[in-house]
């Protein structure tokens, strides 16, 4: 049965799915240099649409953010279209467990469209620099998304 048929049968509003991803400390402190794929590319002619993500940092040594800036969810790679972002201050720099919900970007008014990228992965990366330290705070994400045809 095709993916689209299953989505129609489920009758959920658009067929939201999710995928769990773990990020090691080594990946977290290299997230500017080396983005990590959180959602694989759909097959040719289909798009991923980001619908949000739960992100939890385990308790442990706090990360030193420095000039790292937010971490963002992008299409393709660090230069791809951003679809959501998480502020590091108050999250990565804490020793306690921290949970956030990353909302997908939405316009408050005016044009609210995005140009989705067909057959492209979604990656997570840090905006401006790598963080340091954080020797034992691993991170888990649950990424919610839809897949749909790029051309209807």
């Amino acid at each position: 049965m095709s993916v689209e048929k299953i989505q129609r049968l489920v009758a959920s509003p658009g067929g939201v799915r999710f995928r769990d991803v773990s990020l090691t400390v080594a990946q977290m402190v290299a997230l500017f240099s080396t983005p990590v794929t959180v959602l694989p590319a759909p097959r040719s002619g289909f798009i991923n649409v980001f619908e949000g993500a739960i992100i939890t940092k385990a308790a442990g040594t706090a990360y030193t953010i420095g000039t790292g800036g937010n971490i963002v969810i992008n299409y393709t790679n660090a230069a791809g279209l951003a679809v959501g972002a998480l502020a590091m201050t108050g999250w990565a720099d804490q020793a306690t467990q921290q949970t956030r919900w990353i909302q997908p970007y939405r316009a408050a008014s005016g044009v609210s469209s995005i140009t989705p990228v067909a057959a492209a992965v979604l990656v997570i990366n840090q905006l401006t620099a790598n963080m340091t330290v954080g020797t034992n705070s691993t991170v888990k994400l649950r990424v919610f998304y839809r897949q749909m045809p790029n051309v209807i």
Binding site: I55, G84, A85, T99, Y105, A107, K140
Partner: protein
């Protein structure tokens, strides 16, 4: 199974809805006494608001709506994190039936995360102060997810 029951049963993707009725008496006291519209989930889980549909039947218009007296959805209570709001002017101060859809807050750019509150209800509150007079109840259909805090 009804279409509504089927929708309610699709919870594996964390998408649920429930209906709530706010009486006129509750609406007139909604600043001091917020009303729970989504109960707290069990420990280790949190509610995530997607949006809500509100209907006000025809009736006597509400009055005394000052600037800033909007309806708000918050975690926990009056002091909780606000996740959506609805303009009351043009809505509650009308004698005709009125419907609105309110999205949960989102960012268009920059950080788009919220610090969700686990094991907390969602409440509806009137911001700033109380309104007066009207006699229409509010019917709500709240769309939300119940998600696990990843450990």
């Amino acid at each position: 199974m009804s279409a509504e029951k089927k929708l309610r049963s699709i919870s594996s993707i964390g998408f649920n809805f429930r209906v709530a009725l706010i009486t006129s008496a509750q609406l007139l006291a909604l600043n001091a006494t917020p009303v729970v519209i989504v109960p707290a989930p069990k420990t280790g889980f949190f509610n995530l608001l997607y949006g809500l549909n509100l209907n006000k039947p025809a009736g006597t218009a509400y009055a005394g709506i000052a600037a800033g007296e909007d309806l708000a959805v918050k975690y926990t209570d009056t002091n909780g994190l606000q996740v959506a709001s609805l303009e009351t002017t043009g809505f509650l101060d009308q004698t005709t039936a009125q419907s609105r859809w309110t999205f949960a807050y989102n960012a268009a750019s920059g950080a788009s995360d919220i610090a969700v509150v686990s094991n907390a209800p969602l409440v509806l509150q009137m911001l700033t102060g109380e309104i007066t007079t009207g006699n229409s109840p509010l019917r709500l259909r709240i769309f939300y997810g119940v998600m696990r805090v990843l450990g």
